[in-house]
């Protein structure tokens, strides 16, 4: 703040703007997905827990919390697959959830994308070969992006979804 007069003014405005703000500056944006170009900065997400241990859900919850605040990049959770552009899936797909996952995917209007979140969604993780596990998400629905980690950090989830919104 070299120019005193203007510096005080700008500083004050910045201070007002950031007063009470808990959202932290985000890290890097993930790689842009060419399939997501049509979404033009708006991504509505429907989440399906296909058999996860709920570790990933806690991290996804964090991604939508005030601190990581993914909504500022145009991502919103919605209540129906009909409203969604992106299906986020966690966990190894269990036998009982396979058809539900497929139905949720089919219920989405085109264009539709799938993001597999966590190691289990990628390759069944520690549950690989377990009883009642049907396979990784890509065995049931086509996967467009993956977020590795057990569980992945909120930053990674934010980065991946920012790759879809392009913002």
């Amino acid at each position: 703040m070299s120019g005193r007069a203007s510096g005080v003014g700008v500083g004050l405005i910045r201070k007002i703007r950031s007063a009470g703000r808990v959202a932290e500056p985000a890290g890097d944006r993930g790689e842009r997905l060419p399939q997501a170009a049509g979404l033009a900065g708006s991504v509505q997400v429907r989440h399906v827990d296909a058999g996860s241990c709920n570790g990933c859900e806690i991290e996804i919850g964090q991604a939508f919390s005030p601190v990581y605040d993914i909504e500022r990049y145009g991502v919103r959770l919605v209540a129906s697959p009909r409203h969604a552009d992106v299906l986020t899936v966690t966990g190894p797909v269990t036998v009982n959830m396979a058809s539900a996952l497929r139905k949720a995917y089919e219920a989405m209007p085109e264009p539709r994308l799938v993001v597999a979140i966590g190691d289990c969604a990628k390759d069944c993780g520690v549950f690989a070969g377990g009883h009642g596990v049907a396979g990784p998400v890509s065995d049931v629905v086509p996967v467009d992006a993956q977020v590795p980690g057990c569980p992945p950090e909120p930053d990674a989830i934010v980065a991946a979804l920012r790759g879809l919104t392009g913002r």
């Binding site: 703000r21 909504e71 209540a79 129906s80 009909r82 209007p109």
Partner: protein, 312 residues
């Protein structure tokens, strides 16, 4: 400048601004929660994307499901075109209060029938709740504005607004405060805001408006959400212009129209910010407590009409 042009311009302005008003109602609570929040223009991005996406119809649905979004949008657009928002001149003989309430109700009915048409439990549930709320809200809307109508002697909204702007002493009585309170509650209920309905809920059992639109996608969803945004702007605009009619253009002079448009946008955004800030401190009512609130607002409206009729 012909009245036609003004009407089209007014509809276009409201249609363009409505998603931004929704953006304001999302940005304010986000800021109060310590978030950075989405951009104010984010609802516009959502709309543009949804318009390009593929619409789906449930297998058992009929024409009612397909037609509802267009009907809802059309009724909202007609109200936006003829209402006293920027200019309180009698465009096409004016926007009649009863016609406006009827048109808004027609949109609600179209959507409720669409909800029932899907054949899902949630669709029927949302339709049932929305209609019960509408049944109690529409009379309140009518009564609240009738309190002003009695003073002006006309149900023409433009005349009421113009009379309020030029001779406030004749139009506004203490009863107007009651009417304003009744209209404010009716607006909350009609636009599906807290404490009547939570627009951000993901839990189907608590939904009202959202439950009816769960089956919509693509351009149908875009139209429904756009129309809902437009209705929010319309009702906030009516609330603002009926009870604070200053700044509304009373002639078709381009300069006054520009001023009217600017003041209108300011008023609506201000009210939207106030409304959404209030939501942060309010909990949603249990569904079966909502009628008590609405009955209360109905009686406020009735008192307002009685008071203004007796004081006349």
């Amino acid at each position: 400048m012909t009245p036609w042009l003004v009407a089209v311009a007014q509809a276009a302005l409201l249609a363009l601004a409505a998603p931004l008003v929704v953006g304001v109602t999302r940005a304010v609570p986000a800021r109060l929660a310590g978030r950075a929040g989405g951009r104010i223009a984010q609802p516009w991005r959502d709309l543009c994307k949804q318009l390009r996406k593929q619409p789906t119809s449930p297998a058992d649905a009929s024409m009612f499901f397909v037609a509802a979004p267009a009907v809802m949008m059309a009724t909202s657009l007609i109200v936006a075109a003829t209402g006293p928002f920027i200019a309180a001149t009698s465009l096409f003989g004016g926007a009649d209060l009863i016609v406006v309430v009827g048109l808004l109700l027609l949109g609600t009915v179209a959507l409720a029938l669409a909800g029932l048409d899907t054949g899902t439990a949630f669709g029927g549930m949302g339709a049932s709740r929305a209609m019960v709320i509408a049944a109690l809200v529409e009379p309140t809307l009518l009564l609240a504005v009738f309190a002003l109508s009695f003073r002006v002697g006309s149900t023409d909204l433009s005349r009421i607004v113009a009379a309020g702007a030029t001779e406030p002493a004749r139009v506004f009585t203490p009863a107007s405060l009651l009417a304003a309170a009744a209209l404010a509650i009716a607006t909350l209920a009609e636009t599906g805001r807290i404490p009547v309905d939570n627009p951000a809920t993901h839990l189907e059992l608590t939904m009202v408006h959202e439950a009816m639109v769960l089956e919509y996608s693509g351009r149908d969803l875009a139209l429904v959400e756009w129309a809902a945004a437009l209705r929010l702007s319309i009702l906030l605009g009516l609330l603002a212009n009926l009870f604070a009619p200053w700044g509304v253009a009373t002639s078709l002079d381009p300069m006054w129209l520009a001023v009217g448009a600017a003041v209108f946008i300011g008023k609506v955004c201000g009210l939207a910010a106030l409304l959404s800030a209030g939501e942060v401190w309010t909990a949603k009512l249990r569904l079966f407590r909502v009628p008590e609130l609405l009955a209360g607002s109905f009686f406020l409206g009735l008192l307002a009409v009685l008071a203004s009729a007796i004081l006349a």
